[in-house]
């Protein structure tokens, strides 16, 4: 059992950004453990994808190809990767931490008597893997203690895609044995929710509101601040779950990714799903009554206080400088 296997995911026919980050993580792990790094692409037609990956400093790129892998299913991907892992017996398997990986990697690991170390933010000597606990309020250091391959998925943005070193890798083909009856779920076409009329991704100023707002009746107060700033209104997931603002205003991994010049996070604790979505913001301001809220770690400016008191004061101050 040796070597690092990075599982590549495609997006619109190209290698996804998160996959390059996983390659960078794999190379980091290789530097710490002195192992070779290989990559695997999965699908019905993987030639182009494999060629793209093979331009990195990797030992080899394996193409897992099968007609039953045309669309993703947890059963299909688990069967295919399980067979490859049995043959290659890598010591580490590294994934990007995407919704798709979350859907099958724990299953694949369990089939080999292992457990995934998911959503990893750092890899250090040992190797020891860091991941967040309690919605980002603590970091946990995890060490594998099993005797099988160690499965790791890396958080979006934790490793830099542009640090994946260039090179030339050999490409090989692997044909798994999959029977149609082994794929028990039937995925249908993907679809968008309600038509997106709000493009938060392009907004230069955004005011985001979270649980600290306490009541839907307090939304207009925040809207008034947004209007004064010429900002779009956004929200963390719980606010949209409650129906206090429409889903299309949700910021975070399941909503929109934003990159404004100014982002005001009001009463948002800063769960990782939210922080991932605001990473591109230039200047982040956090207002929260909990001084230990993780959002302050991502903020340039912070105010500890009740947003119901701070927001009206802020609206007034903004209006004052604009006169």
């Amino acid at each position: 059992m040796s070597g690092i296997l990075v599982v590549i995911e495609e997006r619109d026919g190209r290698v996804s950004r998160g996959s390059w980050e996983a390659v960078a993580a794999g190379q980091k792990l290789a530097a710490l453990t002195g192992q070779a790094v290989n990559a695997v692409v999965i699908g019905a037609q993987t030639e182009q994808l494999a060629a793209e990956v093979a331009a990195k400093a990797l030992g080899k790129v394996v193409r897992i190809e099968h007609p039953l892998l045309t669309v993703y299913t947890a059963d299909g991907f688990t069967l295919a990767l399980h067979q490859l892992i049995e043959q290659e017996s890598p010591a580490h398997v590294v994934f990007p931490h995407t919704y798709q990986v979350r859907d099958y990697a724990p299953k694949l690991a369990a089939r080999l008597g292992q457990a995934l170390i998911g959503d990893v933010t750092a890899i250090s000597e040992g190797p020891v893997f860091t991941r967040q606990l309690l919605q980002g309020r603590l970091n946990g250091s995890y060490r594998p203690s099993g005797n099988g391959p160690c499965f790791v998925s890396v958080q979006a943005g934790a490793f830099r895609a542009d640090e994946a070193q260039a090179g030339t890798a050999a490409i090989s083909l692997f044909t798994p044995t999959i029977e149609p009856a082994q794929i028990r779920t039937k995925p249908n076409e993907r679809f968008r929710g309600a038509a997106q009329t709000v493009d938060l991704g392009a907004a230069q100023r955004i005011v985001g509101v979270g649980r600290g707002i306490k009541d839907a009746a307090n939304i207009p107060m925040v809207q008034e601040l947004a209007t004064a700033l010429g900002a779009e209104l956004g929200a963390s997931r719980p606010i949209c779950d409650n129906g206090w603002l429409p889903m299309e205003r949700q910021i975070g991994s399941s909503g929109q990714t934003i990159a404004p010049r100014l982002y005001l996070a009001l009463g948002i604790s800063g769960a990782i799903q939210h922080l991932v979505g605001i990473k591109g913001s230039q200047c982040v301001v956090a207002v929260n009554k909990d001084p230990d809220a993780p959002i302050f770690e991502a903020a340039d400016y912070g105010i500890v206080g009740d947003l119901l008191e701070v927001v009206p004061a802020l609206t007034e101050a903004v209006k004052a400088v604009q006169q």
């Binding site: 688990t78 369990a110 089939r111 998911g118 099993g146 779920t185 991502a298 400016y301 105010i303």
Partner: protein, 256 residues
């Protein structure tokens, strides 16, 4: 339709967190606990399916004695009975170990559907339901917002990234992990709370389930995260802080 809902008791969202003396987890004494959020949505989905199609909703949880009130809460909301896996060392088991406990308890029940929340608010691994499906040999789907019963199984609405969704068809029995926000959560009624007191809670001890408890992944140490940015905190009354902030945004960050 018989539905099992696997739920977890977690520290309350606003609870003050202190790292314990060993530096391996948080100090649990004096901590307030609550039902994990996405598990509450899983329970809600189960209760709505039962109201539509009839059947039974069984809640299943692993944990020490303190999980009692969380079980009662689920029963008060409308679950019919509960199975409590009494387990004092839940924290030292990894995701696979916990799923093994749950699988051992689910097996004799032969349910048509198993629901869990997408992930726990404390460890946040998001693996239990998916591993449970593997251990039980059942198909699964994760991040589910809506479940519809069909003649042969279920059609579910799965959340994808960046505002996309997908509908997926599964045969019965199946395991689904439920994303929060798909339904409106109900409150327990006074009548529900009263009824909950007479509902069956069967306790099995973890050691009776004879599953492998040796972890393959160990949480060695916990620590407070280091700041990614140097945050300037602005003190004072709300008015003073607001004025200072606007000043900074205008002249220092130059974003106003």
């Amino acid at each position: 339709m018989k539905i099992i809902v696997a739920i977890k008791q977690v520290p309350e969202r606003d609870a003050q967190i202190r790292i314990d003396a060993a530096g391996k987890w948080i100090e649990e004494s004096g901590l307030q606990y609550a039902l994990n959020e996405s598990d509450a949505y899983a329970l809600e989905e189960a209760l709505q399916l039962k109201e539509k199609h009839g059947g039974e909703v069984v809640v299943l949880t692993a944990g020490p004695e303190r999980v009692g009130p969380t079980i009662r809460e689920a029963l008060a909301k409308g679950a019919d009975r509960a199975i409590h896996i009494d387990c004092a060392d839940l924290g030292s088991r990894d995701a696979l170990g916990v799923a093994r406990l749950l699988a051992a308890a689910v097996n004799p029940e032969n349910p048509d559907l198993i629901l869990t929340g997408l992930q726990s608010d404390d460890l946040g691994q998001g693996q239990t339901g998916v591993i449970l499906a593997e251990l039980l040999g059942l198909p699964h789907s994760s991040l589910i917002l809506h479940v519809e019963k069909t003649e042969t199984g279920f059609t579910v609405k799965r959340e994808l990234e960046e505002g996309w969704f997908q509908s997926i068809e599964l045969p019965t029995p199946a395991v689904l992990t439920i994303q929060s926000g798909g339904n409106k959560l109900r409150y327990a009624t006074l009548m529900g709370i009263k009824r909950a007191k007479t509902k069956e809670v069967r306790t099995v001890t973890a050691s009776d389930l004879t599953v492998d408890a040796a972890p393959v992944v160990v949480l060695e140490r916990v620590a407070l995260p280091q700041k990614q940015k140097s945050t300037q905190m602005l003190p004072g009354t709300p008015k003073e802080a607001a004025a200072a902030l606007v000043e900074k945004l205008k002249f220092e960050a130059r974003v106003l």
